[in-house]
């Protein structure tokens, strides 16, 4: 079934017509949805050929959501992007038409009031026909050029339907989406499944504790999509009791103490596990016993097969942890360059995708995620490659060497500590290191703590003894 059919059907249901999509200053009922989407398509059709890939940039606004629904419904291919996000370098910019959406008050039936089109700078653009319509998503990969994961619309719809089923979303639900709909989690696991289910949806732009508490009073959600960091924020500062029907957390591993506290104070909490490449891979169910919901991310979604393979150098036995590989019937079809051209590289190994995570499967098929095995950490839901942070710090002219280790936890995820050997005679210190990193790195990639040392400890192999550094800081992973 296509997105167009799904949206038309749900919008026509009498019991859904009064449900709404809302954001800070915009609102649209399901009754108005078909008209809103067709006016957007009429607006685009006059200006952009149907086969041209679009660069769609929006925040968590109703106008942005309507644009994305219109692009899906009309089988237009597009790159999903965040409003206001600058491309790091001009060479990385997509060379096609760009659509920017305003989140201010506007007339949702007049696309010209909220949609700005920046024409393409190049004539030689790939044209994609409607039957092969694609959705391109920037991967959360580290600080360098993000790759585009390419999804086919007709397969992506199954990914969405699997989430509706797993979370038992329905038209009686009121769903708060605190995560950006410009990424796979917010778009593919939270927003689209909620639309397909006919739920009322509150899209929270730049969600923080203040906005969440205010919106919570106004909208009164019974389902919330958030991150482990957001769970912590609510636990730390929210004083009032609240009993949500369901809270879904994704983006990072949920620490045990956070799960136990949140589940007790705010109602059932489940973890969702997925990636930009594959969409939703596994999710716990609200009806699962608390201990299973705490420890695992549930069973794989419909159409997903997982394999636990030995880590490098590991002799693995049944039930042991190992490297997680996933085969997904509605996952991506490959990576693309910035122009949308599919790259030749085959990202799959026998149809399986290497997630980079360490996991285990119990006898009931429950998946437990134990962390990464590739010197990456998750911070603010984004992947940080430690070596890239090290290279940047070591690149400062007054720094001789730099090593970054992860261990313990911080508000942003795993705690990062940088150990730096400065150039002889340098009179700068940890404070200057922090400032220099803040000026050059996104916030989530800036180490939490900086140490200046006379020298780094080494192993006999000549590699830096990272374990020793971690023990110096008093933190063990």
């Amino acid at each position: 079934m296509s997105f167009k059919t799904l949206i038309e059907r749900i919008a026509a249901e009498p019991s859904v017509r009064g449900n709404v999509l809302v954001s800070a200053s915009q609102s649209c009922s399901y009754a108005l949805l078909p008209e809103a989407l067709s006016t957007i398509e009429a607006f685009l059709s006059k200006r952009i050929d149907r086969g041209v890939i679009l660069d769609a940039r929006c925040g968590n606004s109703v106008a942005g959501a309507l644009l994305l629904l219109a692009l899906l419904a009309e089988n237009r291919s597009f790159i999903l992007g965040k409003a206001g996000e600058k491309d790091q370098q001009d060479e990385q910019a997509f060379p096609g038409p760009r659509l920017d959406v305003s989140s201010s008050t506007c007339d949702l039936l007049r696309p010209e009031s909220f949609l700005r089109i920046t024409d393409s700078r190049h004539d030689n653009l790939s044209l994609i026909n409607e039957t092969n319509a694609r959705l391109y998503m920037r991967t959360s990969g580290s600080l360098g050029t993000a790759k585009l994961a390419v999804h086919r619309h007709d397969r992506f719809v199954d990914n969405v339907l699997a989430c509706v089923e797993r979370f038992t979303l329905s038209r009686t639900d009121r769903v708060a989406v605190t995560v950006p709909i410009s990424h796979m989690y917010g778009f593919g696991a939270a927003f689209l499944p909620s639309v397909v289910a006919g739920a009322s949806i509150d899209l929270q732009e730049k969600a923080n504790i203040l906005r969440f508490l205010e919106r919570d009073q106004l909208f009164s959600p019974n389902v919330v999509f958030l991150t482990p960091a957001f769970c912590r924020m609510l636990l730390r500062h929210r004083k009032s009791a609240r009993d949500y029907y369901l809270t879904i957390s994704a983006g990072d591993v949920l620490p045990d103490e956070v799960f136990v506290d949140y589940d007790q104070r705010f109602g059932p909490l489940v973890s969702l596990y997925g990636s930009t490449e594959l969409g939703a891979i596994a999710a716990a169910h609200a009806n699962m016993p608390k201990d299973l919901r705490r420890r695992t991310v549930g069973v794989p979604m419909t159409g997903v097969r997982v394999e636990i393979r030995p880590l490098p150098g590991q002799v693995r036995e049944e039930g042991d942890i190992g490297a997680l590989f996933v085969k997904h019937s509605s996952g991506f079809i490959g990576y693309a360059d910035r122009a949308g051209k599919i790259l030749d590289e085959n990202p799959l190994d026998g149809g399986f995708f290497a997630t980079g995570d360490v996991a285990s499967l119990d006898g009931d098929g429950m998946l437990e995620i134990h962390g990464r095995y590739d010197h990456c950490v998750n911070r603010d839901g984004r992947l940080v490659v430690l070596s890239e942070v090290e290279t940047l710090i070591a690149g400062l002219e007054w720094v001789d060497q730099a090593v970054v280790v992860a261990g313990g936890s911080s508000w942003r995820g795993e705690k990062l500590e940088a150990y730096c050997v400065l150039q002889r005679g340098c009179d700068r210190g940890a404070k200057e290191l922090k400032i220099a990193c803040a000026e050059r790195l996104p916030r989530y990639a800036v180490p939490d703590v900086f140490h200046t040392v006379d020298s780094l400890p080494y192993l006999d192999s000549g590699k830096v003894d990272r374990h020793r550094l971690k023990s110096l800081s008093g933190e063990e992973r």
Binding site: K206, N208, E214, A229, R236, D380, W411, E439, R443
Partner: protein, 95 residues
């Protein structure tokens, strides 16, 4: 902690100065004291405190001023800028 139960109440200006000090010295904000305007927005445009810095800021305020923000205090409008925030803190300290 800024005051004991027997100390004189903080002046409005002292609250503002303490808020600036917290931002510069205790948080991840890359600014100097004299660079912070008490009217600059704390969220979005302005200091652009993200959700994590915001909770750190709230926690630091509670610790340093020895107060607790109730849910009703945690309004976007109360955290518009340092001036509105200082008014909230002043009200809570005097109650």
């Amino acid at each position: 902690m800024l005051r004991s139960a027997k100390a004189r109440p903080l002046t409005f200006d002292a609250i503002i100065q303490e808020l600036k000090r917290i931002l510069v010295e205790e948080m991840d904000v890359n600014l100097k004291l004299e660079e912070i305007d008490e009217k600059v927005p704390l969220l979005d445009d302005g200091l652009a405190l993200d959700s994590i810095l915001l909770v750190e800021f709230i926690a630091c305020i509670e610790t340093n001023f020895n107060l607790v923000f109730e849910d009703a205090d945690l309004r976007v409008s109360s955290f518009d800028d340092l001036t509105t925030l200082a008014r909230l803190i002043e009200t809570k300290l005097s109650s």
